[in-house]
């Protein structure tokens, strides 16, 4: 991060405060959503969706990913791809078992 002057930082702080507020609201929403009368699959999707939004806010603004260099973004995309592989391939292999 190159040198920022005071005013620039204060702009950033406004953003941080907004994100903080949003995170608080989303947390409450997450808990509220768990009381909804929906199927397990829908509940999983909803919970993960809200969590993803929260995570994106933290990653994008607190961790500055929104302005980060492409090298870092690429490394993270690669990692995320392998994360999905690690999550889903064992699962699919398990559900695709032969009936012996």
């Amino acid at each position: 991060m190159s040198e920022q002057d005071h005013g620039h930082i204060e702009e950033h702080i406004k953003v941080y405060l907004t994100v903080f507020g949003a995170l608080g609201v989303l947390t409450v929403l997450t808990v509220a959503a768990s009381y909804l009368d929906i199927s397990t699959t829908e509940a999983i999707f909803l919970a993960l969706a809200i969590a993803t939004v929260k995570a994106s806010l933290v990653a994008g603004y607190f961790m500055h990913l929104i302005t980060e260099r492409h090298t870092i973004i690429w490394i993270l995309c690669l990692t995320f791809f392998f994360f999905l592989v690690c999550m889903f391939l064992p699962l699919i292999t398990y559900t695709d078992h032969t009936s012996l």
Partner: protein
Amino acid sequence: MSQDSHHEENFIQKYIFSVDHKIIGLQYGITSLLFLLFGFMLMMVMRWQLAYPETVVPIVGSLLGETGILLPEIYNSLGAMHGTIMIFLGIVPLAVGAFGNYFVPLQIGAPDMAFPKLNAASYWSYFVGGVIMISSFFMPEGAARSGWTSYPPLSIFESGQTIWLISMIFLITSSLLGSMNIIVTIVQLRAPGLSWFRLPFFVWAQFVTSFLLVLAFPPLEAAAVLQLMDRVASTSFFLPSGLVYAGNTVDVSGGGSPLLWQHLFWFLAHPEVYVLILPAMGIVGEVIANNTRKPLWGYRSMIYATVFLGFMSFIVWAHHMFLTGMGQAMSAFFQTTTMIISIPSVVILTSFFLSLWGGSIRFNTPMLFALAFLPMFGIGGLTGLPLGIGAADIHLHDTYYVIGHFHYVVAPGTIFALFAGIYYWFPKMTGKKLSEGLGKLHFWPSLIFMNGIFMPMFIQGLAGVSRRMYDGGQLYAHAQDVLQWNEFMSISAFCLGLAQIPFILNVFITIFSGDKVDRNPWGSTTIEWSAPSPPLPHANFEGPVKVYRDPYEYSVPGAEKDFTPQTEK
């Protein structure tokens, strides 16, 4: 974090807890070579039992209990520890920790790694992990004996696994820190003018290897924690409900899955085998270019192949699990990816072969090892193909065929390449060249006896002899015709051990009474050869490094010498 060159360091700072990548590289090198020797000796005891079953083991028999005969549990321990030590305490620390640490900064013209203190921390984490691993032999429970693969449920109930798991956590941490360091070093510390496609192939190989380590090791670390919990906290991550062990129903909550371990383990362990081979291919590339006096054929294709190989290595792992009741769809998926991943290896090997064409080949010791690597890795790779096809794997899985396959790739494959690296880079590390005579005395018997040990394994495996059997297959009718190979293989193994003596002598004699050579005795183009031998503490080079050329400008038409260094305008 910078070391002032005027600062006087005491002995401890300079040699024990040094943050200089060269010292750390040597620490990794010496430690790993000692572990390799130890792992080799474990194997020799096993091979005695296989050749001369139920007889007293010479020399070490007294350590094996009252009778001096190798007991089945100890045989299993030796097997599990041989694999673990050779892979995690031997090859990876040597290939990545030693060669990577020592030569990556030098080949990119950097004064050190990006994070010198972290570098020291990764070595010491490895050292502690290694001590813990070896200490397991002296613990009441004994050493691990459930294979280097540590499959549950056996590994949850068998002795020795707890220490193994704790040690693995230290070793994995060491690898993670080390590979992170290598990635940052290569990206950030390349000298001015050293663009990506001017990097020596060795550096690219280390770069991809480090990505494999950084992204593939953590799931195994997670799995090791889970297995530790199963052993110590009575959880049942990997234990199914209703499991009966040794006649008793196991008293745990159940609901776990042994397959979960296999998935998490092989998610690492498959990329791990590419970690074992890529630095070796990198070294072979350097030695071949140098000793043919021409650039590597297909340099760019090799780089793309290496990157593609690294990427693919994450999606083939279940070819180790074809016999676990996998459905057709997933089996087809993993067979397909496995077949595809053989392509980049072929591209790299073919490029090496084509690099020889029209070259002025110098048959010095490093080149002999590098040349031998090619057909040996070829055999290893080709024998992997039937294993990657589900139908053939049904017959070959867990037989000696598999052992033959992977040993060909790692033993006369990687280890030969690492020897090539030691002979090639010895003058840079010490200022002295190893003797060619002793080198050839090391090389030729090693080549012969490597084949003597591992070729018959294909014969035994095709006959159906299973691996990890204490009696080498004696009880089985289908093994009777091929049992006679056991003695032949064991004698070859003992002779292979003897063949390493010229190498050990060579190292000591050269260090203590060899003649000094100039800083670039092989006439090489890459940047490390422009530093003094050994390179300057903490700074490596005498001045700032600037790069003007591609890595292998040998035999440039019109040049005065048959090589033009990268740092020369």
